[in-house]
Amino acid sequence: MIALEKRPQPSQMWSLASPLVAVALTMLAGAGLFAALGQDPLEALVKIFWEPLFGEFAFYYRPQLLIKGAPLVLIAIGLSLGFRAGIWNIGAEGQYIIGALSGAAVALALYPSEARWLVFPLMVIAGALGGCAWAMIPGLLKVKFKTNEILVSLMLVYVAEQLLASMALGAMRNPEGQGFPGSRNMAQMEAATSWINQSAGMHWGVVAAFISVIFAYVLLAKHVLGFQIKLAGQAPRAAAFSGTNPARLILFCLGTSGALAGMAGMFEISGPSGIVSIDFNVGYGFTAIIVAFLGRLHPIGILLAAGLMALTYIGGDVAQSSLGLPGAAIQVFQGMLLFFLLAVDVLTNYRVRFGQRSAA
């Protein structure tokens, strides 16, 4: 008989070890999956985890790690604040799109201005405000009418996608593009590009991601607001007793996560992506949810988790192209990571007891 017994307090050791155990278990189960698909499991794992970092073409893949990791970190940091307070923003993908469109609107409206000191900061502000405003919709509805922010924020993703399609094919379409469905390339505009060093994968989004990690760390560890966020998530009645204003907390968490997601979108569209196109969004907003939990909703953890997640994306591409693994297998692999993490997570608060209970 195996029994779970609640620990008197959460285990420090397991809260650190569980992500590592989850990664190890994912590798094991993934190996089984790849073997079942008729691949050499060891080779597949090497392709996914080793090749992008230390393989022959690492010079190409390593910058990709920054490019893929930065938006994940930015979005996941924002989401983690809300998740800690029990406010579930599932619509970061939509806020990411709206942030990108807002930033692009500024860049395209001011084209061909060459005043980088004006255009780029304005784009950053517009991106943040756009994402923030999109997240405020579920926020205000929740505060005013007690709607469920999970549903509203998620549904707004699809609204944002339609808006993106309309913009890419309509208002923002490149007038000199000979009918090509997409905008001018902002990555090539001196005044608007977010690239710092394209060959190294460095763009302003990477910088912003690191700043957001520090900001979130200080907020949660030292600031009253961070304390209230944690309190509201763990014991809502105690938070009300303590004097936390729930409405203000909801708006702050949703607004901040929306602004960060919007900035992530803006840096992406003016750098790695470059153009407003119908398939601009690739699911960073959803993957960031996994990243936030994989990183235990802790800023440093999120930084590491985003790195790992980016690695599986890139490694997955490598495995797809060189081994012919189906893309779906890579997605299953990423899903297993979250599954095992949540499963192993139980051990933080519970201990397993092996032993027979006396027969009833």
Binding site: V224, A235, A238, F241, S242, G243, S358
Partner: protein, 511 residues
């Protein structure tokens, strides 16, 4: 000697021992329960009373030791087996569905319920036989705590039990309801039922019980005949030393610090009680005791005073200022502190450390923040001060609140508010589930605070406690508060009438 009592033991407990990791809950507990007696089980919190009755009821399997019932070995594997053998238990916390009616609730607890109409008839019969008025068709959500307890008791009586276990049955009753309950229990006793009665109210035990077994730290430390043992002597057997009774000097009533003027607010929860037209002057130096059966607006009153529930304009004044709209932290700034009844999740966050819990209410008055940033070193010092001054048993301030026992956490919560040096302190059930010596320490601290000139409002269901520490007494009934009266000289009957909702007390008093 009661008429039906015989010397034959109905139930024998021999050397029952049960250990949990780190603590021995019961160690070699033996005593006999005779048919036709009310047998008291006494002990402080953590003495092992609950474990013992759970063993009898089949919820806990002892590590060693045996029981017999009617001379035959008795080892129930689960409550169903215990019930089949004739053991019934009324728990301290009721397990009733508020949305269902009385008969449906009773049916849910039965193995093979008869058709509801027959059952309603039987409920009526039993309730009349034993003097427990109860209408089977009423919805439980509308019943008072005393009536809910009757549902539980009738549920037990329908099984015609040989042994009836009652865990703290009077903690939710008014004195009049207690009298009704005692009549019922005496009737059952006279019919030959053995009743195992757990309570910490010693005067009640002296009035009702024929025999008493005292537990301390899991061991039987003595037996006595409660009818001719003083309450103090029994308390000292439980504590194992002399009991410290709170001392006080009657301070002169000070100025009115806070004025409540026709306070009416609705309850945030569905089955809560709205506050109706409460008027009260809160004076410095005075301990105001507010009695009443749980669920009559206690939580709401504390919430409205602490700021968790905002009041309309013109109903709560601090000095000359209307403060009804102020949130809790602003009220703390004015010196109004509070300690809610529910420790886990309301007064304290269970998964947070004691240091973090110290910041929960202390950040304003103890100046634990600067420019919005928490000073964790200072906060930890504050937590350690609470732990030391209020004798909180914990390895350190870094431990999670949920790792503390209920009594220790209560000391921490009360200490946290008192050490903020409040001008007005409101506490709800300050010693609920706290052992006798810790309860005495908490009461003393409240009295000391009042002696320094602060106003202290104690909301409690423990009348003994209220009579011990209050200068003035008022009762809360269905959201209405009686006019406070001087506590000294109030008789039990008068208190009972106040609790029962007789609003015009002056007339009742004169009449």
């Amino acid at each position: 000697m009661t008429p039906a009592a015989t010397d034959r033991a109905l139930m024998e407990l021999n050397g029952l021992t049960k250990a949990y990791p780190g603590v021995v809950a019961n160690s070699d507990v033996s005593f006999n329960l005779k048919a036709g007696e009310v047998h008291a089980l006494l002990g402080e919190n953590g003495a092992g009373k609950s474990t013992l009755v759970k063993t009898i009821y089949g919820l806990v399997k002892p590590d060693s030791g045996t029981m017999t019932l009617d001379g035959a070995p008795f080892a129930p594997a689960e409550p169903r087996a215990a019930r089949a053998a004739g053991i019934a238990m009324v728990f301290q916390h009721f397990s009733l569905f508020e949305a269902l009616d009385v008969a449906e609730n009773v049916a849910l607890g039965m193995e093979n319920p008869p058709p509801l109409r027959d059952l309603a008839q039987r409920i009526k019969e039993v309730s009349e036989t034993y003097g427990l008025p109860l209408d089977p068709s009423r919805i439980v959500g509308d019943l008072s705590a005393g009536e809910r307890q009757r549902v539980e008791i009738i549920r037990c009586l329908l099984q015609y039990p040989k042994v009836l276990i009652m865990d703290e049955p009077t903690s939710v009753l008014t004195p009049q309801e207690v009298d009704i309950l005692f009549d019922t229990l005496r009737k059952l006793r006279d019919e030959g039922t053995a009743i195992l009665y757990i309570s910490h109210k010693l005067e009640e035990i002296r009035a009702l019980c024929d025999d008493a077994t005292v537990l301390r730290l899991g061991k039987v430390v003595g037996t006595c005949d409660p009818r001719d043992t003083s309450a103090r002597a029994m308390a000292e057997m439980m504590v194992g030393g002399t009991l410290h009774v709170p001392e006080r000097d009657s301070a002169a009533a000070g100025d009115v610090l806070m004025k409540i003027n026709g306070l009416s607010v609705s309850s945030p929860t569905e089955f809560g009680s709205a506050l109706k037209d409460i008027t009260l002057d809160i004076r410095g130096g005075v301990v105001l005791g507010i009695g009443g059966v749980a669920g009559n607006g206690q939580d709401e009153l504390l919430g409205a005073l602490s700021g968790e529930i905002r009041a309309p304009k013109g109903q709560i004044f601090h000095g000359a200022d209307d403060i009804g709209h102020l949130p809790p932290d602003a009220r703390r700034g004015l010196g109004i502190c509070a300690a809610p009844e529910e420790r886990m999740g309301h007064a304290a966050a269970p998964d947070m450390s004691l240091t973090e819990n110290a910041a929960l209410t202390g950040r304003k008055r103890k100046a634990l923040t600067k420019n919005g940033f928490l000073n964790w070193r200072k906060t930890r010092d504050f937590a350690e001060e609470i732990i030391e001054r209020f004798d909180v048993r914990t390895p350190g301030a870094g431990n999670a609140a949920r790792s503390l026992s209920g009594g220790n956490l209560q000391k921490f919560v009360i200490g946290r508010e008192i050490l903020q040096d409040p001008q007005i302190l409101i506490v709800n059930q300050p010693t609920w589930g706290v052992d006798a010596s810790a309860a005495a320490a908490i009461r003393q601290a409240l009295l000391d605070l009042a002696a320094k000139g602060a106003a202290v409002i104690v909301i409690s269901q423990d009348l003994d406690e209220l009579m011990e520490i209050s200068d003035e007494f008022a009762a809360l009934n269905e959201g209405r508060l009686t006019k406070p009266r001087p506590a000294r000289g109030l008789t039990v009957d008068e208190i009972g009438l106040m609790l029962g909702g007789a609003h015009d007390m002056e007339v009742a008093h004169v009449g």
